[in-house]
């Protein structure tokens, strides 16, 4: 299936910012999730629940856009209120789905609502 968007997987804040800076001028959507262990399970139950819903709507992404799947780190790292995601990107919780450089953001239970996810991918 030909994808209209580019998917990028990163781990941690530095990798995320690098991926973003390499894609200046593009429409960048980012999904932040608690990191998965070797078995592929995340410590964040909401992230586990939201991921298939978000993935289900990826087909609505505008052509030429970028979808960054970012694992933020272990639970202990996330719980620290001074972690870089909280401090610099102003994230308040995981999962978070946002459109980089805009105020468009869906946080936690909002990510469970496929209507809202679709709305974010399709609205100007």
């Amino acid at each position: 299936m030909a994808r209209q968007y580019e998917e990028v997987t990163v781990r941690g804040y530095d990798e995320f910012m690098k991926a973003v800076s390499q894609r200046k001028g593009k429409d960048v959507f980012a999904y932040f999730s608690g990191s998965k262990n070797e078995q592929g399970f995340s410590w964040c139950p909401d992230c586990v629940k939201a991921e298939p819903i978000v993935r289900g709507e990826l087909g609505y992404l505008p052509p030429g856009s970028v979808f960054i799947y970012c694992q933020v780190g272990e639970r202990s790292y996330w719980k620290d209120p001074n972690n870089e995601f909280k401090k610099t990107l102003k994230l308040s919780g995981v999962p978070t789905l946002l459109r980089y450089g805009t105020p468009q953001k869906l946080v936690e239970e909002e990510c469970f609502k496929k209507d809202l996810v679709r709305m974010m991918f399709t609205e100007d």
């Binding site: 805009t102 105020p103 468009q104 953001k105 869906l106 609502k113 809202l116 709305m119």
Partner: protein, 652 residues
């Protein structure tokens, strides 16, 4: 307006009653049926209508609406009238069937003519309607025919669906404060709702998204920029409080603009989420009525979609007015452009004396810009003039130049650039003097016009005030067309405030869909003007209270006050002012509350609730003040205006 809304349910025209009239052969006889009634003359295509049975007295308005609803072409006429005959002849020549009601044959002629006048402001007969739309008298009808409009109207498809087949229960035109509140409320009752919102770009090309004026180009950015100006003053005052500033303090417009726009963006996205969550459909498209229950929605790419709904709410708000002088649209900006202006406006001339003009001039001056205000006559028309003048004086003392009793006559561009340089030429109101000035920016704030002229209201017969564009409604926000309502700034004679529109919208939805009967209370609505010296008010101005009760029946208590926070930095000690107006014949009930000073809005809110409870001067006096705050002055007012006593304050 009559009682066509009962118990919160929308009542459609009861056509079965009209049908029963027909069946009992005491009513309308349509063209094509060849029933001939005894004492009337008949014509081949149009037949007269009459009532024999007067036991069934009905409201004139209901009778008119009944005929309009049943007949594509409806003529209210007089048998002896030459012009009526000509109208009938016109339709015959077009081979169009029509229905005629000969009013000289009817005993309820007066009621019907009164209803016609209320509906159309036309007294003369014949009065011609096509598809419920009022064409006019003979002259207007023949003109419409010459211009092809008559045929166009006749050709228009009328969507004759039963209520079950409408696309939506409710269609709201306008996604601002009022529209969104009504839509969301209706959706909570399980109704199928659609909101159409579209922003026509300004002459400068500025546009924005969902949320209406308040969020995008009104209250929200205004208050944020007002706060930016206040903080500038605070930085200045802080030195007296011991803060040591290392660098020179200056203001960066771009950073402020970005922060304000970011916040507005997040609010807008919040609105989109809330709408989607409440299952309200939102279309970014321009809505126009094309039929009684049908709207054409055109999106930014020109694509047209049609929607039908049982009920409509018009909440299209207003846009800034231009002066109609050379150069106004090309070179001037309005509040629609100001809050997203990419560069600082620089030396600015604000034209107007509305609260928009004074608030904008106020915060721009507070940010350190060179500001002038050109005023035609008085400040803040409609507000208490004593307070308005104090606001103006304060602004003048703090560096704003007022150019009084002048009106601009032309705007020219001297230099291109952002912002560039403009030349303003103005004339004094007595015509004797000319003024010329150079500014980087000219901001027009001379009033706002309702967005009702191009949404097809004449197609569906919704009456508007032709001069102002505003829509008159009854106490239930219903227009003259029973299934079409209006809320917010478009309303005639109502306060143009966000919370008023929201309240009206919510209550309307509850009356329509939740069997409530509460109507919006437009009295004692508190407001605040966010000029550098903030002004909070609730209830009557001094002028209005004198007019309503008579000067002898009111007592005005007043006092200056000096906020404690202003003492240390030695800010104006006799500028802040408190005033209440009491009605002597009703235990000195407080009918007007006015405060000039910092945080005026926060102060006023509580007192507005007290006024709703009927607070009297005595109750106020029995309330112990909080110390040391500005608001406590209201608990110790003793000097009346009448006594002429001194109210100068030395601080606490």
């Amino acid at each position: 307006m009559g009682n066509s809304v009962c118990k919160g349910k929308t009542v459609f025209m009861d056509t079965t009653r009209i049908k029963s009239l027909q069946n009992s052969s005491t009513g309308v006889i349509k063209a094509g049926e060849h029933k001939i009634k005894s004492h009337l003359s008949t014509e081949s295509q149009g037949l007269s209508c009459f009532t024999q049975d007067h036991s069934d007295q009905r409201d004139g308005r209901e009778i008119v609406q009944g005929f309009l609803g049943q007949n594509k072409v409806m003529i209210f006429s007089v048998t002896s009238c030459q012009l009526s005959a000509q109208v009938k002849e016109l339709f015959r020549s077009m081979k169009v069937s029509y229905c005629v009601l000969e009013l000289d044959q009817r005993e309820d002629r007066q009621e019907i003519q009164q209803a016609l006048w209320e509906l159309t402001e036309q007294r003369e007969l014949p009065s011609v309607f096509v598809n419920r739309q009022h064409i006019g008298d003979w002259e207007k009808t023949s003109q419409a025919h010459r211009e092809g409009r008559l045929q166009a109207l006749l050709d228009m498809q009328e969507v004759n669906l039963s209520p079950d087949l409408y696309d939506y229960d409710l269609l709201v035109i306008g996604g601002g404060s009022g529209g969104l509140a009504a839509a969301k409320e209706a959706a909570t009752y399980g109704k199928k709702v659609v909101v159409l919102d579209y922003v026509t770009p300004t002459p400068k090309g500025t546009t924005w998204g969902l949320g209406g004026t308040c969020v995008n180009v009104g209250c929200i950015p205004k208050k944020l920029m007002h706060q930016a100006a206040i903080l500038g003053q605070a930085i200045h005052d802080s030195q007296r409080y011991g803060w040591e500033l290392q660098e020179k303090v200056s203001h960066n417009w771009r950073n402020m603009r970005q922060a304000v726009q970011d916040h507005i963006g997040s609010l807008r996205f919040g609105y989109s989420k809330a709408l989607r969550d409440s299952k309200v459909t939102y279309m970014n498209a321009y809505g126009e009525f094309v039929g009684p229950h049908q709207i054409k929605a055109t999106n930014s790419k020109g694509k047209e979609t049609f929607y039908t709904a049982a009920t409509f709410i018009i909440a299209t708000g207003e846009r800034p007015r231009y002066l109609g002088i050379p150069g106004d649209k090309e070179y001037c900006i309005t509040s629609d452009d100001l809050f997203s202006l990419p560069q600082s406006p620089g030396r600015t001339l604000v034209v107007g004396a509305s609260y928009v003009a004074l608030e904008c001039a106020g915060f721009l001056a507070g940010l350190g810009l060179d500001i002038s205000v050109m005023v035609r006559s008085i400040l803040l028309r409609g507000f208490d003039q004593h307070m308005a003048n104090k606001i103006g004086e304060h602004m003048e003392q703090h560096g704003v130049t007022f150019i009084r009793q002048f009106v601009p006559t032309k705007i020219e561009r001297l230099e291109e650039g952002s912002p560039g340089k403009l030349k303003v030429t103005a004339k004094s109101t007595d015509g004797k003097e000319t003024f010329e000035g150079e500014y980087n920016t000219v901001l027009l704030a001379v009033g706002r016009d309702a967005c009702t002229r191009t949404i097809g209201l004449d197609t569906v017969g919704v009456k508007i005030n032709v001069k102002t564009g505003k829509i008159p409604v009854n106490e239930e926000e219903q227009t003259n067309v029973p299934h079409i309502y209006a809320i917010g700034d478009v309303l005639e004679g109502k306060l143009e405030l966000t919370p008023v529109a929201i309240q009206a919208g919510r209550l309307l939805a509850r009356r329509l869909y939740a069997e409530h009967s509460t109507k919006c209370d437009y009295t004692n609505v508190p407001t605040t003007v966010f000029t550098p010296l903030e002004y909070g008010a609730c209830g009557l101005s001094e002028e209005d209270s004198i007019q309503k009760y008579g000067e002898d029946n009111i007592e005005v208590y007043h006092s200056n006050f000096w906020p404690l926070e202003w003492t240390v930095p030695a800010r104006d000690n006799n500028t802040c002012y408190a005033k209440i107006i009491c009605y002597k014949q009703d235990s000195e009930r407080v009918v007007g509350f006015h405060v000039l000073g910092p945080n005026a809005g926060e102060i006023t809110q509580g007192f507005a609730a007290a006024m709703k409870c009927g607070m009297t001067k005595e109750q106020l006096d029995n309330t112990i003040g909080i110390h040391p705050v500005c608001a406590e002055v209201f608990t110790t007012l003793s000097v009346t205006k009448r006594s002429g006593g001194d109210i100068a304050k030395g601080g606490c």
